[in-house]
Amino acid sequence: MSATLNRAGLARDAYKGAATTLCAGCGHNSITNHMVKALYELGVEPHLLAKMSGIGCSSKTPAYFVETAHGFNGVHGRMPSLTTGAHLANRQLIISASQATATRRRSGWVSSCT
């Protein structure tokens, strides 16, 4: 494990979450690992991160990275509206959004979707 600090002054460990409960080899785990890497490398401050999702396997993702950040498991397939609302409420937030549809990243949202 690298002890190198990013521009937020944090080690990569600060971006870890709970242990995955998904199936071994599940593609979501790979996505999650890359989310950890990306957020670390971008130097995102955890308190500014909001992890949004629906419910279901892909929507468990927010539990598996940046444990100290705010997260929201919503209702099935309805992550985008919750995310839009959170974004409107606080434009400073950096929002990751996951549910079982598409992959997208735009204007302040980091989305890991499958």
Binding site: E45, P46, H47, L48, A50, M52, I55, P62, A63, E67, T68, A69, H70, G71, F72, N73, G74, V75, R78, P80, S81, L82, T83, T84, G85, A86, H87, L88, A89, N90, Q92, L93
Partner: protein, 600 residues
């Protein structure tokens, strides 16, 4: 001629939807209101853009009764399709202004007819080709002004007030009204007893406002910053008014930037989802809808209840189920909204009974939502929301916003990061939350609609689930004691009425009628769910209590019965009105007198 009837009459204009008749109706309303005379307009319109029949009832009483009347004194018949049926609604001795071309052969002989060649007058006297159809309606305003003795100055005021933002339209409309006014003077002599005379001391300090307009203003005063909505009658005008107010009053004057976000979402599911997402992130957030939209919002409402997210949801009720009668009023969402969602769910529901309360409750709803971290529903209806009501001017808020139990960075430092999102520290069921963006390592927590413990961690633990549900009950019990209390008006009568929402206007009038016939009744107006303890105590003080409401199944009646001790249940009786028309007083007095005649 018979004895004059002054300032006590109901005008009904029967016109064709989309013809511009509503503008004429509003001019007439504002002109009469300007004379100091109380007015109570009810717009009965079809679910249609153009062509179907529409009616506008303008009730005028010296007392200022606001409920719909079931009797018409003066009919303005502009729609040949409904002419025969409209004629049946007129009170014997009433007056009928009608298009000359409508046949009065075999028509009633107990009313006075004033036949006016509206079509010919429009053709010969109105020069503006493009606006002729719309302006033709203005001719009847002139005829009615002549018939009832409305001063020209009041007519001018009505037109200016109606076209406040379009002053260019004033002369052309006044010209059209003058055509009717002159026609009356030149061709008729007064044959009916109805007239209007200026009054003093009744409408001073009062304004005419729609409930949705009042609620929009209330939401603005409540500090709303995120509005997500999907249009639906009769709710749409609430957000439309809000947008208009926000464009004026929620703009950063230095930068021109809007200080409020409004999203017209793709549907009601997204609308409420956005509002909940915003409420979670710390905004004062709302959506507004009607029955079909409320049905779609059920799942998300359960999420906000269980995950404890503040959000304000307006339901401007219309007739259901399903699409129902989209432009007719109802109070039939009460039971559904109270427990909206699957699972054990119970919501805070505010029940404004006047436009003033639409304003106040809309404002306070945001405080309650933040304070109790839960969805707060404001249940209005088409009658209250879309009709103009005479009301005292609204008061500017005299208290700061209540953002509830929110831990800041400083709070967390003071607590050394020791806190739990769902721990009942104060014993009132209301726990502490943090907002995303709070700069403290312990601020973050996980919000979820699945089972969770005090630390907001996922759990399927039996005890944790039951404990959490019990706390949610405790929280609602805390709310119950601070929500708007029922309003009692008692003078020791043995019988009483209970009502909520727009039914209030008809109850006020029914009580006057009953008192005048020697049967005074007490009154309790419910203003929130869950029910306050006062309700049972009120029932205990009376032999019979009639619950009056505008739905088929007696939904409030049922809720009160469930809340009463067994020995009081038998005292309750139910009066229901559910045909989509705003309840008139007679729909209370007649069944009450019949039921009183039956031995208990």
């Amino acid at each position: 001629m018979t004895q004059p009837i002054v300032n006590d009459l109901t005008i009904q204009a029967a016109t064709v939807n989309g013809s511009g008749s509503q503008t004429a109706n509003l001019v007439l309303t504002r002109a009469i209101f300007h004379m100091g005379i109380p007015v109570a307009p009810k717009n009965v319109f079809p679910s249609n853009i153009e062509g179907l029949p529409t009616w506008y009832q303008l009730r005028i009483t010296p007392e200022g009764h606001m409920a719909r009347s079931d009797k018409v004194d003066i009919l303005v018949a502009f729609n040949v399709a409904t002419w025969r049926e409209d004629l049946k609604t007129v009170r014997p001795g009433g007056a009928v202004i009608h298009e000359e071309a409508f046949s009065t052969a075999e028509a009633r002989t107990d009313v006075t007819y004033y036949a006016v060649p509206f079509a010919k007058l429009a053709k010969s006297k109105i020069q503006n080709d493009t606006l002729r159809k719309q302006l033709a309606n203005m001719i009847y305003v002139g005829v009615v002004a002549g018939l009832l003795g409305i001063p020209w100055e009041a007519v001018e005021h009505g037109v200016r007030r109606q076209f406040l933002t379009k002053p260019k339209a004033v002369p052309v409309n006044l010209d059209a009204i003058k055509v009717g006014y002159d026609y009356w003077q030149d061709n008729f002599s007064k044959q009916d007893p109805y007239r209007l005379e200026p009054m003093q001391g009744v409408v001073e300090g009062k304004v005419l406002v729609e409930g949705n307009q009042a609620a929009a203003l209330g939401a603005l005063m409540g500090g709303v910053t995120v509005v997500a909505w999907y249009p639906i009658t009769p709710s749409s005008s609430l957000c439309e008014y809000l947008v208009a107010y926000a464009d004026r009053f929620r703009v950063d004057t230095a930068t021109g930037e809007k200080l409020i976000s409004v999203v017209q979402a793709e549907d009601e599911l997204a609308a409420v989802g956005m509002a909940i997402g915003a409420g979670w992130a710390g905004a004062r957030a709302m959506t507004s809808t009607s029955g079909p939209g409320i049905s779609l919002m059920a799942e998300f409402s359960g999420l906000a209840y269980y995950a404890e997210v503040p959000v304000v949801i307006f339901d401007i009720q219309r007739i259901g189920p399903s699409t129902g009668l989209p432009t007719r009023t109802s109070q039939a969402d009460l039971g559904f909204v109270y427990t909206l969602s699957h699972g054990d769910t119970k919501h805070v529901v505010l029940l404004p009974g006047t436009v003033e309360e639409c304003y106040e409750f809309a404002r306070d709803a945001f405080d309650y939502a933040d304070r109790f971290q839960t969805p707060v529903f404001v249940l209005s209806d088409l009658d209250l929301g879309m009709n103009l009501w005479m009301t005292p001017e609204f008061k500017y808020p005299d208290k700061p916003l209540d953002r509830g139990k929110v831990l800041s960075k400083d709070d967390l430092e003071r607590l050394a990061g020791e806190w739990a999102r769902y721990r009942d520290v104060d014993g009132d069921g209301v726990t502490y939350r943090t907002l995303p963006g709070t700069d403290h390592p312990a601020a973050g927590y996980f919000t979820r609609g699945s089972g969770h413990d005090e630390m907001a961690r996922y759990t399927e633990g039996a005890d944790a689930y039951a404990r959490n549900m019990d706390r949610l009950s405790r929280k609602l019990e805390t709310a119950r004691h601070v929500l708007p209390a029922p309003v009692a008006d008692e003078a020791g009568a043995p019988i009483a009425l209970i009502a909520f929402g727009s039914t209030h206007a008809a109850v006020v009038e029914a009580r006057e009628t009953l008192a005048a016939s020697g049967k005074p009744v007490d009154y309790l107006r419910i203003r929130a769910l869950p029910l306050a303890d006062d309700v049972a105590e009120f029932v205990r003080r009376h032999d019979h209590v009639y619950v009056v409401e505008q739905n088929r199944d007696g939904q409030l009646f049922d809720l009160i019965r469930l809340a009463l001790p067994a020995e009081l249940v038998g005292r309750l009786r139910s009066i229901r009105h559910y045909n989509g028309q705003p309840i008139p007083a007679v729909a209370i007095t007649e069944p009450l007198m019949q039921l009183e005649a039956v031995p208990a």
